[in-house]
């Protein structure tokens, strides 16, 4: 009996930590999403059923936030994947590979809040280097943070700058792990670089590309810091990301914990749905070798 208790006692601290830091907030979020819970008023909370969820569909800012997040997802993530894969292949075997590799990782290591501040300065209308550079080609100054279209483009560019290295790192690591024998064998059989890529490298890298895709989707849905530091969601609601809107509703301006919880639950469901779609579309489970045989 005593021996059986010891393992439980050993894991108890971690279990307690897990319950208090993950499970409790999660359950609390679900619970509060069905309640009127407004900290700025300080009144008692009360059960209001699905009202918070229904409110989302008539909340124009929530809908605009959702649209911009979808745009970010649809543009930034594919660009990051293509660039990351392209760069990983391009720098392979190039002179100074190690230096290039290390330099490429720098954007990923910069905290998002810091890169937000830096990009705000880079985008400065009058003195920013971006407009200065464009002026060399005769392009007039652009209001990168004050024009709806350019502000959206600006946020997308920052995301691409910051997260392409992540994709690059994963693919580059994958490339290093491909046995040289396989490539050599293909070349002996007369395959050019295109065939080697298509029939040897790409199939072996596919699981890693899919992992990168899933991680980027999840991360992209949580985009917050860059918007917080650069546009504050403007102009209008053009660059409100969904996560940034949750922050405003729940923390910064609203203190409406109930509504923010409902928005968060919806984000969780959308994230799960998207990831599931990706899994199903590409049959990743089988690729990774942990899918059921019957599937």
């Amino acid at each position: 009996m005593k021996n059986r208790l010891i393992p439980w006692l050993m894991v108890l601290p971690v279990l307690a930590l897990f319950l208090s830091m993950t499970i409790y907030p999660f359950v609390f979020m679900i619970w509060s999403s069905f309640r009127q819970y407004d900290l700025s008023k300080g009144a008692e909370t009360r059960f209001i059923g699905l009202s918070n969820y229904l409110q989302i569909f008539s909340d124009t800012t929530a809908i605009e936030s959702f649209k911009f997040t979808a745009k970010l997802l649809a543009i930034a993530v594919p660009v990051e994947l293509l660039l990351g894969i392209g760069v990983a292949f391009l720098i392979r075997g190039v002179r100074g590979e190690k230096i290039i590799r290390s330099s490429l990782l720098i954007p990923m290591m910069v905290p998002a809040a810091v890169s937000g501040v830096a990009w705000k300065m880079l985008y400065n209308y009058a003195f920013g280097p971006v407009n200065w550079f464009l002026s060399l080609f005769g392009i007039p100054r652009i209001s990168w943070l004050g024009d709806m279209t350019y502000a959206q483009l600006g946020i997308i560019l920052i995301d691409v700058w910051q997260w392409t290295p992540f994709v690059f790192l994963m693919i580059y690591a994958g490339l290093q792990s491909i046995p040289q024998d396989l490539i050599d064998a293909a070349r002996v059989d007369g395959a050019d670089w295109g065939r080697v890529f298509l029939h040897v490298e790409f199939p072996l890298l596919k699981p890693l590309i899919l992992v990168a895709l899933v991680l980027r989707i999840i991360d992209c849905l949580k985009t917050f810091d860059i918007v917080f530091m650069t546009t504050w969601g403007g102009p209008g609601a053009a660059t409100h990301t969904y996560s940034f809107y949750i922050y405003k509703v729940g923390v910064s301006f609203g203190w409406n914990i109930g509504y923010a919880s409902a928005l968060s639950v919806l984000l969780l469901l959308v994230s799960m749905l998207l990831v599931n779609i990706v899994f199903r579309l590409v049959r990743m489970r089988q690729q990774l070798g942990f899918g059921g045989e019957g599937e």
């Binding site: 209308y125 009058a126 943070l145 917080f228 504050w232």
Partner: protein, 437 residues
């Protein structure tokens, strides 16, 4: 000798451990002055340790709400933006009652009546109780390039173009004309590229910038006739009977004027506090409406002889911060916090924080002080502004009203929403919903 050293060391250690430690959360604008005052305070009160913790507006306000609502008591004193008064008031110590309870704690020359009455009312009072002491009596001023306004050639050119003297503007219509004159796109001989630096970004800046324009029309005789006199609790955004006032002819006029000025400003929708300061610093613009604080930056960068300060054309807007005590802390800490916040708002502190750190004064004695008047050209402008400025609401719903308003105004200025009464009526309807009316 050795024994003496040991005894002194031991005494110091005992003192250090027996000292009451208090944390004071504040906005970065107030931090340097508060740190200096904390140092001076600790010299006089070695039994109290004061730690100043600066936090940005976006972090400070949620932190205050979160801590006060949970009654955690993780800090003892703090500065709060008066626009958040209604939301945080429940967690603030009643200072009037505290003064009655411990009259001996008040500094000997502490004179509540010396505070500028409107400032004490707006910064410190909430529903009849004294809950804060005015610390940072910020207001917006109109800065201009004095050297350009006094240049005979430019004066002549202006007169030839507009048929009147180049005088300091008193209305936004005059500002528009001068801004056009100083914008290269409209006057190729302009010494500056743009006439004026405006900050209309999506942040809460847009909410107070609107009042610079709306205040002029809202407080004109016709505006007063329509909306009544604004009170300090609801401010100029509301009518005297506490209904939205911006969905009116005056409200439309304000936004029209903002739009009219935009062509003469570098990136008005993408620029905030820091950017507009930099535009003026670098000589890109001839005029900039800004808070009291940046004067010191302008003085050191552009040069004191080149920077002029006048009251805001139209109306200014208040941006006050008060010092308060967390209600949910032990009595001994409340006493220490009380000692510090009263020290930091004495006549001596008020004068010195203005002279050393440009923290706007809250006391009449500071404004009248000959040394202060001789040292700082902002004082005459401040005197005029303090009695004419407009105010944002202080009610608990303010942040939420602010957020939806900024979104609508931003869309109007960008052009995705029409500048019409319908748009403003829609916004007013949303306000009524939030206010539960």
């Amino acid at each position: 000798m050795r024994r003496l050293l040991v005894l002194v060391s031991a005494a110091l250690v005992v003192m250090a451990f027996s000292a009451v430690k208090i944390s004071v959360l504040c906005s970065p604008d107030n931090a340097d002055a508060l740190k200096w005052l904390a140092g001076e305070f600790m010299k006089q009160n070695p039994d109290i340790q004061v730690e100043i913790v600066p936090l940005s507006w976006e972090v400070l306000y949620p932190k205050l709400l979160q801590d006060l609502r949970s009654q955690a008591g993780s800090f003892e004193a703090f500065t709060y933006d008066v626009m958040t008064t209604g939301a945080v008031s429940f967690g603030l110590e009643d200072l009037g009652a505290f003064m009655k309870k411990y009259p001996e704690l008040l500094p000997p020359d502490y004179d509540l009546d010396d505070f500028i009455p409107e400032v004490l009312e707006e910064s410190g009072m909430w529903q009849g109780k004294l809950i804060g002491l005015p610390f940072y009596n910020n207001t917006m001023l109109f800065y201009y390039r004095r050297d350009l306004f006094e240049d005979p050639k430019l004066k002549q050119a202006f007169k030839e173009k507009y048929g009147r003297e180049l005088t300091l503007p008193t209305t936004w219509e005059e500002v528009k004309e001068i801004a056009e004159f100083f914008t290269k796109k409209f006057n190729k001989n302009s010494p500056t590229e743009y006439g004026i630096a405006l900050m209309f970004p999506r942040t809460h800046t847009l909410f107070y910038m609107y009042l610079l324009f709306f205040g002029q029309y809202r407080n004109a005789p016709l505006g007063i006739m329509r909306h009544g006199t604004a009170d300090l609790e609801y401010g100029e955004y509301f009518t005297a009977d506490r209904k939205p006032a911006f969905n009116s002819e005056e409200g439309l006029k304000a936004l029209e004027m903002m739009k009219k000025l935009m062509p003469y400003s570098p990136d008005p929708l993408g620029s905030d506090y820091g950017e507009t300061i930099e535009y003026f610093n670098q000589g890109l613009v001839a005029m900039v409406p800004q808070w009291t604080g940046p004067y010191l930056i302008f003085k050191s960068t552009v040069g004191a002889d080149k920077v002029g300060v006048i009251p805001m054309p139209g109306r200014s807007v208040s941006g006050q911060w008060a010092l308060a005590i967390n209600k949910f802390i032990p009595e001994e800490k409340k006493v220490a916090a009380f000692k510090f916040i009263t020290f930091a708002t004495t006549k001596w502190a008020d004068k010195n924080k203005f002279l050393r750190f440009a923290v706007a004064p809250a006391r009449m004695s500071t404004l009248k002080d000959p040394e202060v008047r001789a040292a700082d050209p902002r004082v005459p402008a401040l005197e005029v502004t303090y009695v004419t400025q407009t105010h944002r609401p202080r009610i608990p719903e303010e942040p939420r009203l602010e957020d939806i308003t900024v979104e609508t105004f931003s869309k109007i200025l960008v052009g995705t929403l029409p500048l019409s009464m319908d748009t403003l009526n829609d916004l007013a309807k949303k306000w009524q919903e939030i206010l539960g009316k």
